[in-house]
């Protein structure tokens, strides 16, 4: 009846044809990889802090937001993201040390509920501080001029150099994290503290020093992620919120306290979310949560957590 339209090649004329092509898929895969790696920077701090100290830090998304706004403030003052990046890392370490020393230290043994309350209050305070210092407007942060071009990959398809740089930077940080956690003495202590804190105490290791270091590193990673994300997503009020919830999803799927678990699950979430938004926009927001619920029902302590 309709020899032309029913042929297997009819898909060329379908409205999906333009999104089904290889270059588009490659671009979405790269976007997913970049998003996932950024999520890893946030989630690894979250999972370490939970694993070692048992703290549920709802304010972790606010730290990410602080990083993004720091990138905006520093780049508009100096004109360069290259200054904002080390400034964000350093600022993150200092902020983390202060928060641990003067606030979080007193909440390690408190109930989860008190921790939720404390860190929710911190979200409100960080948002107000942001509003006081920078205001409530949306701002965009320019991509550094040195990276403001596209790298051709195939004929007719090229990909932003800045996104490549973000992917590289995140991979480098992930590698450093891996070496630190898996190959150094301090890393071994941190893994031990996440596994059996009593044992670490008994061995005479100063837990307070470990807590300070872990919290500072986690905070610095969140701020770094914020700085890197600023040119990609622009900066806006409450931007930490979405990233916080999605990072929790990453942490839960990866298994609490497991940095390598967080790495793989961040990639998974990044790809699922990005591909979902590109190809099934109506249900994309739901996708990751459905995935998380499914994973938890199948494996109640996460995909990479200990088998229960």
């Amino acid at each position: 009846m309709c020899p032309d339209r029913c042929s297997p090649f009819a898909i060329r004329n379908s409205p999906f044809a333009h999104t089904m092509d290889v270059a588009g898929l490659l671009a979405q895969l790269l976007n997913g990889l970049q998003y996932g790696l950024l999520l890893f920077l946030i989630a690894s701090g979250l999972t370490l802090i939970f694993g070692v100290m048992g703290i549920i830090n709802l304010a972790h998304g606010s730290l990410f937001m602080v990083g993004a706004y720091a990138a905006f403030v520093v780049t508009s003052a100096t004109g360069s993201l290259w200054i904002a990046l080390p400034a964000g890392m350093l600022g993150g370490i200092i902020l983390g040390l202060l928060l641990e020393r003067f606030l979080f230290r007193y909440f390690y043994r408190r109930e989860h509920l008190d921790q939720v309350l404390l860190t929710f209050a911190l979200i409100l305070l960080f948002e107000e501080a942001r509003s006081l210092v920078v205001g409530n407007d949306f701002y965009s942060v320019p991509v550094p001029p040195a990276l403001d071009f596209s790298i051709p990959i195939t004929e007719g398809f090229s990909y932003s150099a800045y996104r490549f740089a973000v992917i590289g930077m995140c991979l480098l940080l992930a590698l450093l994290m891996f070496l630190w956690i898996e190959r150094t003495r301090l890393g071994a202590i941190i893994r031990a503290a996440a596994e059996k804190p009593e044992m670490v105490d008994v061995l005479g290791i100063d837990a307070r020093r470990i807590h300070l270091i872990v919290f500072a590193v986690g905070t610095a990673l969140a701020l770094t992620a914020g700085v890197l994300a600023a040119p990609l997503y622009s900066v806006y009020p409450n931007m930490g919120d979405g990233f916080l919830i999605i990072s929790f999803v990453v942490v839960v799927i990866g298994g609490l306290g497991s940095v390598s678990g967080a790495f793989w699950s961040a990639l998974l979430i990044g790809l699922v979310d990005t591909l979902g938004k590109a190809y099934l926009p109506v249900v994309a927001g739901l996708g990751v949560y459905v995935l998380m619920a499914a994973v938890l029902l199948w494996r109640p302590s996460g995909l990479f957590g200990p088998r229960s």
Partner: protein, 338 residues
Amino acid sequence: MLPESKLGWMGLALGAAVLAAVPLFVRPYYVELGTYALIAAMLALSLNLLVGCTGLVSLGHGAFYGLAAYTVYLITPEEHGLSLLVTLPVAVLAAGVAALVVGALSLRTRGFFFLMVTLAFGQMLFFLFHDTKIGGGADGAFLARPTLSLLGFELELTRRQRPVAIYYIGLVQMVAMYAGLALLLRSLFGRVLEGIRVNENRMQAIGYNTYRYKLAAFVIAGMLAGVAGHMWALHRGFVNPELVGWHRSAEALLMILFGGLNTLHGPILGALAFTGLGEVAQLLTERKLLVEGLVILFVVLLLPNGLSGMRLPGGWKRGLAATGRPPAERGAESLRHG
């Protein structure tokens, strides 16, 4: 959980009487604010059945609240509102069914994971209403409010009378909810829930199927949150995805902790105080969140048992704040480390 002295019950009766007298003395704006505080109190009360009584910390409770409000929106025809006697049961039923599904799945996990799964289900619902056109999308939608009709008679109210009537409907529902929960907690069912909070393994060892008890508590709490959500639709005549979002759930947790989770009146106290605090903060400064954040910080650092656990001089404390278990039980830990 319940007052143990006559003085305590008198305090409760006095509180209810004060709440009942409020619309007689204040401006209409404050009547509406009062209605909102009552809705918040009902949400906090319902959540406290999980958090305070059973020891289940859920971050997705706002989902059932929001779902009930959306249910009213979905079943109401555009031009004229349905009777309250239709919308309330349907909304509560919808919240209950959702709670049954969510609870059956999420109660397989514990502690932090339970917190996260409930959060995930809440966010699922949030994105369902946010991304699709089911309920007006991200902007929300107006609805014809439920009417106050009984057996064919419809109560006709002027614009001035309506908020007052709605306030009293809210108050009646909240008092009923308090009384119902008080009875429930006295029953064997309530005792089992308390046992689960204190030591679930031991309850299992005694022979209770704790999963079923927790699921029942989860469904009841979801339905009660549905009552609060329905009340929101009646009060504001507007729904948006914020109702379902996790901030609402976190706020309800705050109210419980603010008021003190060892008592049944604590969540009500917390909700009223929190709503009042927000209002005062807004009047005094433009920085509402700053004041709220600082007060929460103050409460969590210095009042581990919330407002109802505040230390009053000797006899007063025993009378007013008499609780089933000593405040020290929860405070001791924080004192040692704080």
